[in-house]
Amino acid sequence: MIPEIGHFALVLALVVAIVQSIFPMVGAATNNLQWIAMAKPTARAQFVLLAVSFACLTAAFLESDFSVLYVANNSNTFMPTVYKVSAVWGAHEGSLLLWVLILSVWAWLVSVFSKGISSVMLARVLSVMGMIGVGFLLFMLLTSNPFDRQFPIPLQGKTLNPLLQDPGLAIHPPMLYMGYVGFSVAFAFAIAAMLGGKLDAAWARWARPWTNLAWVFLTIGIALGSWWAYYELGWGGWWFWDPVENASLLPWLVGTALIHSLAVSEKRAAFKSWTILLAILAFSLSLLGTFLVRSGVLTSVHAFASDPERGRFILIFLGLVVGSSLILYAIRAPKMRSTGKFTVISREMGLLINNVALIAMTATVLLGTLYPLFIDALGMGKISVGPPYFNTIALPLGLVLFSAMGFGLFLRWKKDSKERVFAKVRWVLLFALLIGFLVPILFMEHFDWKAAIGVALASWVSLTALLWVQEQGRSPFKLPLSIWGAAIAHIGMAVTVAGISLTSAYSTEKDVRLERGQEYQMSGYSFLFNGVKEVKGPNYIAQQGEVVVTRDGVEITTLHPEKRNYGPGTMPMTEAGIDGGILRDLFIALGEPLGKDAWSVRLYHKPVVSWIWIGAGLMGLGGLLAAFDKRYRRVRRHLAEKKVVDQAALEADATGALAKHEVAANQTGIAKDNEAPA
């Protein structure tokens, strides 16, 4: 019965989504106030229905209702409860349900926190989000219904992909989806702005906090995925340039560009059509990511459920969404005049460099990811593009980006002088270079150029961010959140860059054969292998090794790397033993038994590898602070007062008057916020 309720709620959600996409949109075009007013209730109803549907599927998992095919394929009665819940989104059908649920969460949030937005704009935004929902709900109901029943009912289910039975990965997909789908808000705002024909600063101001939030989730989601790969795959790596990893990086890069370009659009009325294009691009790449993961056109460790038929559906949907928004863009772009002029030395230019570098990176990664597909489609053979390609192109671009990052904060809008900015930062520049050279010399066993450059850049970016906060001349507690947000996000990026540079240059990796009782020396640590014993987990049997780590005779820790077997039909899983720390990780993975008491053991010493994820955490925190800056709320209140007037204007069918109001409101906004950061 419960699965039927879930299924029914899903069908109802589709009906509501159709209403949500048609009526408010038509209403906005024809000034039908009643139809415009349908946007909010339909968006909220959609959320409630999908929440019910999701709850039903979760209940089916908790009860181990194996008459539901999806439940039987992805769970069994031995699985711990937490993984029964995470199994809901552990495979194709359920992850789609999570996708639309999250879409409806965002739409609901927009409908609640929309005080200052004109009702016409809101109707268009929610309608666009409804259309996306229609696509995905149709996809789910037609090709991948999670509530399909089966008969006869099996007594026991299969198991969730053991790779996914991990706390890090239980929350990785929801985070990532919050990010992916979150860009649909900026996308919907961009489309609504184009439809309305009013491409002023208003849409940029509204879209900014939402874009920040989506970006925060995506940052955390990617970091969790990378952290998971690090400790679960047992290769000691944290980024593999795998197509699916790239698919999540692409919207992140464009999203980062979008955050910065929105600032210019809002504050200086420049980059107008470019920002719109970025908003379309960020969401399109999220959709492309979904397509790549779900269709299996590229090989990847992540291609969990691939099916060309489903791929075709997503591709057609992708074509409709991206194609129609780009056609709209082609029609509207020529009318978007960027009125804000700027000179070569200005904050606009700094942000332009940021955007160009980020988009060049995006193009590089996109090309590298799809290149094997292009070559294959042209019948020129099968190839795979590896890390060397990505690293050769991404690193120089990173160099440009991070060099510009330090200057960017100090640049003034419109026009600035080289001498002024340089005078501010020259000591920081010198100091950063000094740190860059001293860290490898003082703390590392040998000097490495790449590491020195990385550390210098990281110091440069973080020191300039700190100096900039100090420059604001106010007590740190009274600074607007967006100042703190920008500074902390920049520092986070610096921490990640430092982590990447040092760990890439100074990691030690050894594959060794160890017998019970044998000791191995590496990087000043001594590893004593105490053999392997069998342990039973709730739903797996593991070979568990014991390694005692000592340094200068002092015991540091005892690690227990495991090789887990989750039963027939699954791959054995590596569970690395990790002693993590701020300054270094010791990482031990169990390889293969080599007869008698001997095993192949993989040992890693990784300096500051954890900084990669600490930095990502800081970036997330920065984005979050910026999204909750008072400024956005203040403007909303400010606009809300105007809203009454707007309504009257609308009823009088004077769109021109409405536009004037908003322009006026924005101009006051610009005047007031001129000192605030990008």
């Binding site: 060309p308 591709l315 082609a330 597909l373 099968k382």
Partner: protein, 178 residues
């Protein structure tokens, strides 16, 4: 309408065509990520000699091939003749990895068709196959003197494959220092 505003649409259209074509391709045949990595460590019982084991270390210092095969695999039968001729002509040491197969069936199969392998390892559970990232049988790996995987052939070896890929690579690898 300005022409430049159509550029994004044009790029997307080209991309969409490729993605659509991509749906009909078999991406699984893309070379494995194991290329450039050392052969995974393993020690497996030998098929033909009871009580003896074989490990990749035994072949260190030579350019050799690892061929994943099974008696239940039809494509292995197809490549067997080509592979045998190639191995005999070029004197390449080949380790056969008998993948998820019953030793009895494998022995019968080799008795009927001939045994081109220098060593045969029994991977009854397929665990080494997993370490090698085997998608399906047959697969053939070329390994250099340092024990690094340099090439992977997914699917059967044909005369063409030998001529274009395997032979030139093996000749080149033999020139390298060990």
């Amino acid at each position: 309408m300005k022409l430049s505003a159509l550029i994004p649409l044009g790029i997307f259209a080209v991309l969409a065509v490729f993605l659509y074509k991509g749906l009909e391709l078999k991406p699984r045949e893309v070379p494995s990520p194991f290329i450039g990595k050392p052969v995974p460590e393993f020690t497996l019982p030998k098929l033909m000699v009871d009580g003896k084991t074989i490990s990749p270390n035994d072949l260190k210092g030579k350019v050799w091939m690892l061929n994943v095969f099974a008696s239940w695999c039809v494509s292995c039968r197809a490549e067997h003749d080509v592979l045998t001729r190639f191995i005999k002509a070029e004197k390449v040491p080949v380790l056969g990895l008998n993948y998820k197969d019953q030793p009895k069936d494998a022995k019968e199969w080799l008795a009927a068709l001939g045994n081109p392998y220098q060593h045969i390892a029994v991977d009854l559970e397929g665990s080494v196959g997993i370490d090698l990232g085997v998608y399906g049988v047959p697969e053939t790996f070329v390994i250099d003197k340092q024990g690094i995987i340099r090439h992977k052939q997914t699917g059967p070896v044909f005369d063409e494959t030998v001529r274009n890929d395997l032979l030139p690579l093996i000749l080149k690898l033999r020139e390298e220092k060990s």
